[in-house]
């Protein structure tokens, strides 16, 4: 049993699917601040222009509360629903709060594996693992994995991705 399998076993309970790093919700919140601010600014500007200062203040206040609530709550839910698993023949991902997605990338289709780390991720020693196939449509990014776990996962995927045929036809 390798380290990744052992790790999977320790998180098991959902058919071998594992969660992301516990810091993921916080990182999503921090990364989402600029977007939330911009959207809030645009909404306030529209309300100001359409309803006048007094009503605008009330509406903006309500919207701000709702926005802050969603911005704080959504990453937690997102983290709860984000799972990944190294299957028999593919990396499998499940994610989405409102729109649930279940994706799979066969090992033998993996062309390239990128490991990316932003400044906030460095603080928590987590990385984003990005798989590339010949399809530009493939849903193959695992965000916010512990760096050590990502290294193991990358190694395992690279071994599994070794070509078995001379010409893959694309």
């Amino acid at each position: 049993m390798d380290a990744l399998t052992a790790s999977a076993a320790s998180h098991d309970g959902d058919g071998g699917f594992q969660p992301l790093h516990p810091a993921a919700p916080f990182i999503w919140r921090v990364v989402g601040v600029p977007a939330t601010t911009i959207v809030a600014g645009v909404v306030v500007a529209i309300v100001l222009a359409a309803a006048g200062p007094e009503l605008a203040a009330a509406i903006a206040g309500v919207l701000a509360l709702v926005g802050i609530g969603v911005a704080a709550w959504h990453p937690t839910l997102r983290y709860r629903y984000w799972r990944y698993r190294v299957g028999d023949d593919a990396l499998e991902l499940r994610h989405g709060v409102w729109f649930r997605t279940s994706a799979a990338v066969p090992f033998h289709r993996i062309q390239q594996i990128d490991v990316e780390q932003g400044p906030i991720q460095r603080r928590y020693d987590v990385v984003t693992l990005r798989l590339r196939t010949a399809s530009a449509m493939s849903d193959a990014t695992v965000p916010h994995l512990a760096a050590a776990e990502a290294d193991l996962l990358r190694e395992r995927l690279l071994i599994a991705a070794r070509p078995t045929t001379a010409d893959d036809g694309h």
């Binding site: 023949d89 593919a90 989405g96 409102w98 729109f99 649930r100 997605t101 279940s102 994706a103 799979a104 990338v105 066969p106 033998h108 289709r109 590339r132 196939t133 010949a134 399809s135 530009a136 449509m137 493939s138 849903d139 193959a140 078995t164 045929t165 001379a166 010409d167 893959d168 036809g169 694309h170």
Partner: protein
């Protein structure tokens, strides 16, 4: 050192050289070659029309003529330098293209990775007796995927195309040039006569041109005076005639464009390749390796269905450009239904195709009808409120529209079917514009199922099947069992690929 002898071309003189021992190609040249000397002139013909605003401003000035002349000379000089700096060479394993005036770029293209090879002769190429060679690679939709040798002599382009195709076949088959067997002559699969091409144009693109022509004609009617005295029939006749003429003209233009674009269309099979030749003003000869085919689609609208016609797209994994250049989209613009089926089977290279025998569930059809009606109501439901004068008429029109939308949506829902075979997944959809996608399982790159909150209530899923590039096929609103069956089928991609 390359295993093959160096292969380069001597543009405008003797065609390709350097492939000793390969049928029909002889001579050896050791140095990379330049494009045809007419290359700067062709570049100038492309650049000058784009600069007309500058020229328009310049010629209005007293110094204009001198400035324009200087600009043209400078432009020509830069293109000459660019031509001088651009070279290409083919060593039997890789095509090497070097270029760039300030930033030098050397690009090596492994011949085994070629998706399509295409010789194009636009009007300017025909006028100057040259050709363009385009090589398409698998590049997942990136912009720099195609390799373009824009100006080669006709002989060089044909010879290089032949050499690339031959070495690609050898590379894929794993045989050496010494033992290579010359490819058999092309076997014609389909030839389209001008009458069928014109019919294809009228029943295809013209369906989009027609509404535009009608809107334009109605605008003219409105401007000329529908509000005037309704008794002036004589005055209206020319306007009505104009409207009819606009519609007829749109049909004529569509038919003519289709006939010109696909003039002398011929689809043939040569060895393991499909060869598509067509065009009058812009002549194209495209080679599509059957082993590279990622997806085959058949299309037909209501009119074509009634006439027993269809079109076929044969897609490889290269980039699909907006103008269709470099892609085999719209490979067969129009064909009789039986011919279209036959072409699709050839393009699938002997894979077993099954019928789309799994229909959409009734709950999925109902969901589609509800969605379409909801959108239609949101867009038009408020119209009767606006105009109090004609509220009744508008309300009747809106209700009629909603009925049509509902009927079309139901027909669309019932047209959604899919089938799962040992080699191919078949997905059909569309009422007014119907299509059948034939997905070779061994070409599947990845897959994804998605489910919205509304779909979750009925256990419905979209299944997205991803192929090379940006191509993908979606099985919409499949039930849980149907989605699981499709996923189980595409999951066999590696096993099917190895078995083949």
């Amino acid at each position: 050192m390359p295993e093959h002898p160096a292969i380069t071309t001597t543009s405008g003189t003797t065609g390709i050289s350097g492939i000793s021992g390969i049928s029909g190609i002889s001579g050896i040249a050791s140095e990379p070659s330049r494009l045809h000397p007419m290359s700067p002139v062709i570049d100038l013909l492309v650049w000058l029309p784009r600069m007309w605003p500058v020229f328009l401003v310049a010629v209005a000035q007293s110094w204009g003529i001198v400035a324009v002349a200087t600009g043209v000379v400078v432009l020509l000089a830069t293109r000459v330098v660019a031509w001088w700096r651009t070279t290409y060479a083919f060593d039997g394993a890789e095509l090497t293209v070097a270029g760039g005036v300030w930033n030098r770029t050397v690009r090596r293209v492994p011949v085994a990775r070629l998706q399509q090879v295409e010789v194009v002769r636009k009007l300017r190429h025909q006028a100057l007796g040259v050709s363009r060679l385009r090589l398409q690679l698998a590049n997942a939709g990136s912009d720099d995927g195609d390799v373009l040798l824009d100006v080669l002599s006709v002989a060089d382009a044909e010879a290089l195309k032949s050499a690339l195709e031959q070495f690609r076949r050898e590379a894929v088959a794993g045989v050496s040039s010494a033992t290579a067997i010359p490819p058999p002559p092309a076997h014609e699969l389909l030839r389209l006569d001008p009458k069928l091409l014109a019919l294809g144009g009228v029943t295809g693109a013209s369906l989009l041109l027609l509404p535009a022509a009608l809107v334009a004609a109605l605008q003219v009617l409105d401007d000329v005076g529908l509000d005037d005295d309704a008794g002036e029939v004589a005055q209206r006749l020319p306007v009505v005639g104009f409207a009819v003429a606009a519609v007829i003209l749109s049909f004529v233009i569509a038919a003519t464009l289709a006939a010109l674009r696909n003039h002398r269309f011929r689809l043939s099979r040569r060895s393991a390749d499909l060869v598509i030749e067509r065009g009058l003003l812009e002549q194209r000869a495209t080679t599509v390796p059957i082993a590279r085919v990622q997806l085959v689609r058949l299309h037909r609208n209501v009119l074509r269905r009634w006439l027993g016609l269809a079109s076929v797209d044969i897609a490889t994994s290269g980039r699909s450009t907006s103008d269709g250049a470099g892609s085999a989209d719209d490979s067969v613009p129009v064909a009789r239904w039986d011919d279209a089926i036959a072409v699709s089977l050839v393009a699938l290279g002997g894979r077993e195709v099954v019928a789309a025998d799994r229909a959409a569930a009734s709950v999925a059809v109902d969901r589609l009808v509800r969605r379409r009606l909801l959108i239609a109501v949101a867009l038009t439901g408020w119209l009767p409120i606006l105009d109090s004068g004609a509220r009744g008429v508008v309300a009747v029109a809106v209700v009629a529209l909603l009925v049509v939308v509902g009927l079309v949506a139901r027909a669309s829902g019932r047209s959604r079917r899919h089938g799962i075979g040992p080699d191919v997944v078949v997905v059909e959809a569309g009422a007014l514009a119907w299509s059948r996608a034939l997905v070779p399982i061994d070409r599947v790159q990845s897959w994804r199922t998605s489910q919205s909150p509304f779909q979750r209530r009925h256990d419905l899923h979209h299944v997205h099947i991803h192929l090379s590039g940006r191509r993908h096929v979606v099985v919409r609103d499949a039930t849980g069992a149907q989605a699981a069956a499709v996923v189980a089928a595409v999951r066999r991609t590696e096993h099917v690929e190895i078995a083949r």
